[in-house]
């Protein structure tokens, strides 16, 4: 789940967890309704919302003991500690933890009861690159075993490596829902040329049926499709005595697609 600040990501997550009083609509998990007063469906759900809630007077291990269900053995708790690489400080009081350590503990708390559905709000907050990678591995492993994850994040490059489906929300509305590949392929691929005579080149290319993207920045952008061949373009320009100085392929990534999407959303509103 992606969206700008204040779009309503945490609010949606809180509503799913029965923390929030929603005026209309219906939320079900696995067919069971969830509301403030009906929590039975949350038995198999783990979550970390906003920032991790930590008791300063308990150690990390005591937190995990406190929140683990009766069926979870000490060994299983330690497995999570090892996976998150928290062993060196898990017995220390949580008030001595750094931001990243607290974040890891929060994630461990979300996973400790082996939930089938895990909700993580900005899970990469405060994590160092190594911890980030570890978390990714844990999430991928659990997902392979059948755990469903709902993750919100601003770090799109991280999300790209993790997700199957994407929901983009803005001002409480869904503006995109689908897989990542579709969002990316929606965006145009283009070839950017730098020539000795851009104006002349533009005319020639248009006359020969190439579609150009308007730009005054001293280069030419050609919309690429399956038929566009670089060899043809080079041939066409060199026969007209235009030198090609530089060629680049530009493929917009998730970030660009997303920013375009949100931009369009604003335009529509205006």
């Amino acid at each position: 789940m992606v969206g700008p600040n204040g779009a309503g990501k945490s609010t949606i997550m809180k509503a799913i967890l029965g923390l929030f009083n929603y005026p209309s609509g219906k939320i079900t998990i696995d067919g069971q309704p969830v509301s403030q007063t009906s929590h039975q469906a949350l038995e198999k759900v783990g979550a970390l919302i906003e920032y991790p809630g930590i008791y300063p007077f308990l150690s990390g291990l005591q937190h995990l003991e406190l929140f683990s269900n009766d069926g979870v053995s000490k060994q299983q708790v330690m497995e999570i500690v090892d996976k998150m690489k928290m062993g060196s400080y898990i017995k220390r009081k949580a008030k001595t933890y750094s931001l990243g350590m607290k974040q890891k503990l929060g994630i461990a708390l979300a996973l400790v009861n082996h939930p089938e559905f895990v909700i993580l709000d900005e899970p990469m907050n405060g994590l160092d690159p190594q911890a980030n990678k570890d978390l990714r591995t844990i999430i991928m492993d659990l997902a392979k075993q059948g755990t469903t994850f709902l993750i919100s994040s601003h770090i799109l490059s991280e999300l790209e490596k993790l997700i199957d489906d994407l929901v983009v929300i803005d001002k409480g509305q869904i503006v995109y829902r689908g897989d990542m590949a579709t969002l990316e392929s929606d965006s145009t691929r283009s070839m950017v040329l730098q020539t000795s005579d851009n104006d002349k080149a533009k005319d020639i290319l248009t006359q020969n049926g190439y579609q150009l993207i308007d730009s005054d920045e001293g280069h030419i952008s050609i919309v690429e499709d399956e038929k566009t061949k670089m060899a043809d373009i080079i041939k066409l320009l060199s026969t007209n005595d235009i030198e090609i100085e530089d060629v680049k392929h530009v493929h917009s990534d998730l970030e660009t697609s997303l920013l375009n999407l949100l931009q369009n959303d604003k335009v529509k509103e205006g």
Partner: protein, 257 residues
Amino acid sequence: MVTLVKQELFKLVHKKSTWITSVLMLVIMTIYAFIARNNANTFDPKAIYIGLFTGMTWVVFFMIAASSSIISMEFQYGTIKELLYRKYYRGEILVSKWITMFLYSVYFMLLAFVYALILKVTVLNSNFQLSENYGYKHSILTTTIYTSLAQFVSLWLILSLVLLLANLFKSSAAAISVGIIGYFAISIISSLLAIVIKKWTWLKWNPLNMMNYPNQVASPSLKHITLLSTNELLIGSLVYMAIFLGISYVVFKRRSV
């Protein structure tokens, strides 16, 4: 529910303040026992023993602090979300906290009572006998038990208010202040209260008047001032307790976090 109470107790026993306050209370009680023995002419050792060597007052203080923090700390530490999103009903979470506080208050009362007995037979052994008559027809020991039980009722009247305020304001500071002021208010404004009650009789049902219950158990003549019988005070206290806890329950169930 048993699991939830166990979890609350787990948090309670791992808090340092839980043990520091217990030790502090015992130390202060010991000091008072020695003061009572060495100044038997100025202080009445019997009266001091019946007041559990001021232990009861400390139980009230520490319980007010503990009750306000057991709810407000969850908001302060952000743990309220972790607490609430689980499979348990919200009401169960709140009630588990009440039960934990009840157990804690029983622990404190027993600790104060038993330690007062120990101080009596060690430090103050020769000063008086527990079987002596004290005041109205009862022995000193029986009087102490009755007074302590009555104070326990009063304690819970205050605690139910503290639990409500901590829940409303999500902050322990407000709840602690009101709790402590409420506890002392009765001795400060009792004379004023007596005048007001005499003028508008229906005001005898106000919660502050209910705080007179332990005093009236100790000296029944107080009924001419409270204008209520001892049993009416007891029932009144219980009704107010139920009202305060009831509002807490409704507020907690509806809150969005």
